[in-house]
Symmetry: C2
Subunit: 330 residues, 2 copies
């Protein structure tokens, strides 16, 4: 059997930083999805209520890539009390020719963090005004930080605002974002005030009830909602889906089951069969992007297996080039 | 982060042979399934027709076990022409308390082979006559060999017969089985003749059309069909399901979607809502087993994530005790 390359989190953080190459890989995944040739089965999801845990498994076959990833993402919600992160996991890369295991990335969720933040930047780059200067993020976790870092790669930001329920965490998050991006960043106590005057609003919370409301939005704004990835979650006032001049999702099938479309349809704000375009079609130019400077654009991201396969391919290429990890024929 | 233990196929073959402990682990999985407390989501399955490949991912949470397995099983059907096995893959063991990755078993399908063969023996032990002496296997692959090895652990066999479409492969398989079990084994050219007078018949093929027919069966026989694990496969004449005095399946949900129940219901031989018991209930004594020495009993096995979690737990315990594999905090 050929060797299997094992790479751990520390090396992967060095090999696959949140950079333009990561954005390009994720953009490629969305373009591939738009081509209709990607095979992406429904997510395997197992809730384990008695241990306050869950595990999701995602995969996708992207024609043209040498391998495909199967990603195992556990979330155990008592972990923080144990001093452990809630979310961790790994990615396995299998040959797209033989199915043999080629690499195991013990990334504890880092590659997911990167591909998720990269998707936010790709969405904003496609839909936000080119002259966007002020960004607001809801939430104060890892994705709040990384979404702003990624966004700073595609827009020349003057100001970043952070709102979170916990103002102490919001302040710490703001400090981290400012240190990472060099953009002046501050925590804002009222969510509506944080949104007012922002060009881009990114929501990154696990909320199960709306935290961003249609009445707060103004012409010219772009909203990316990346928190909802389960049929119990939603971040957007359903009226925002009706209000949007352009509504785009990463995956129609997933957004209808797990994302903002699910909640919007359930609330009657949008028809179950509403013609909503996927981000890949916008990137490919087969669906329209921002209609004009005064439009409100909205993108819902649920996270796709195609992104996992794309970021794993990047990690694999970088690991091979660097001779990283441990090659074993155990 | 705690260390991750990596164990390869060679060590796993030594650590987890097809023995009584493997049977006990798998019996425990079926008993757990019968308890109603196992969480076992539908299999994630992705077909990749353009590369003649597929991948299945199975998992199950079994209360009382320290970890749960996520198994990735690729099948790439052009591999034999490349000198590679069609089926390989790996198992990942995650902590049932924290979700952290604890072990990666690069087993190339060995643990699946063991837990699948063990299930056949557990089923025969529960349903075949205690005095069964003659066993027939259809198929000449790995499972044909391992099913007979496992069966020899639970019944005192005098004779084993092998039928396969390819008589050369059947002869080679018979020789291997005889060498492994010490039981006189011969290839039989006609399938009906192979079944006549046998006490136990095990079908192990990937057939998509029946290969065992109701008219061939006689009172007192037990049949285990373990080949069908996809909605395109079936090995049993649907009339066998109607003919059986006792019909048992490993997982009702899976057999209805992927196993012999699917084909039987489609053929109108059995009602979609027929009261079929699961093997775990028979083992637990909450459903009846063999009605008497002259009954025909049938068990359909599709392969469950609970078996994977159980065999992975055994592998983990053995690897820990032996200090096997490679512990890494990559």
């Amino acid at each position: 059997m050929p060797k299997v390359v094992l790479v751990g989190e520390r090396e992967l953080r060095d090999l696959v930083p949140l950079d333009r190459a990561a954005l390009d890989a994720v953009r490629g995944a969305f373009l591939a999805l738009a081509s209709g040739r990607v095979i992406m089965p429904p997510i395997l999801s197992m809730a384990m209520p008695e241990v306050h845990g869950e595990v999701d498994v995602k995969t996708a076959f992207v024609p043209g890539l040498d391998g495909f990833a199967v990603k195992i993402s556990p979330g155990f919600f008592d972990n923080p009390a144990r001093g452990l992160p809630s979310v961790n996991g790994l990615m396995v890369v299998l040959s797209a020719t033989t199915g043999l295991v080629e690499a195991v990335f013990l990334d504890n969720g880092w590659l997911t963090d990167v591909r998720t933040a990269a998707a936010g930047a790709v969405a904003a780059d496609a839909l936000a005004r080119p002259d966007a200067r002020i960004a607001t993020v809801f939430g104060a976790g890892t994705q709040a930080r990384l979404q702003m870092q990624a966004l700073a790669l595609v827009r020349d930001l003057d100001e970043i605002r952070v709102w979170a329920r916990d103002s102490v965490k919001a302040a710490a998050c703001a400090a981290d974002i400012e240190a990472a991006t060099g953009v002046r960043t501050r925590a804002v106590g009222e969510p509506r005030a944080a949104v007012s005057g922002a060009d881009i609003v990114v929501t990154t919370t696990p909320s199960s009830a709306p935290i961003l409301f249609a009445g707060w939005l103004a012409p010219g704004q772009h909203v990316t909602a990346m928190g909802s990835d389960a049929d119990t979650k939603c971040e957007l006032d359903p009226a925002i889906l009706a209000r949007a001049d352009r509504l785009v999702v990463d995956s129609l099938a997933q957004s209808r089951r797990l994302g903002e479309l699910r909640a919007g349809v359930a609330a009657g704000a949008i028809a179950a069969d509403a013609a909503v375009d996927e981000l890949g079609s916008v990137l490919a130019g087969t669906a329209p992007g921002r209609p004009g400077p005064d439009a409100v654009t909205v993108c819902d991201l649920t996270g796709t297996g195609a992104q996992d396969t794309a970021i794993a391919a990047l990690a694999r290429a970088r690991a091979d080039a660097a001779g990283a990890g441990l090659a074993t024929d155990l």
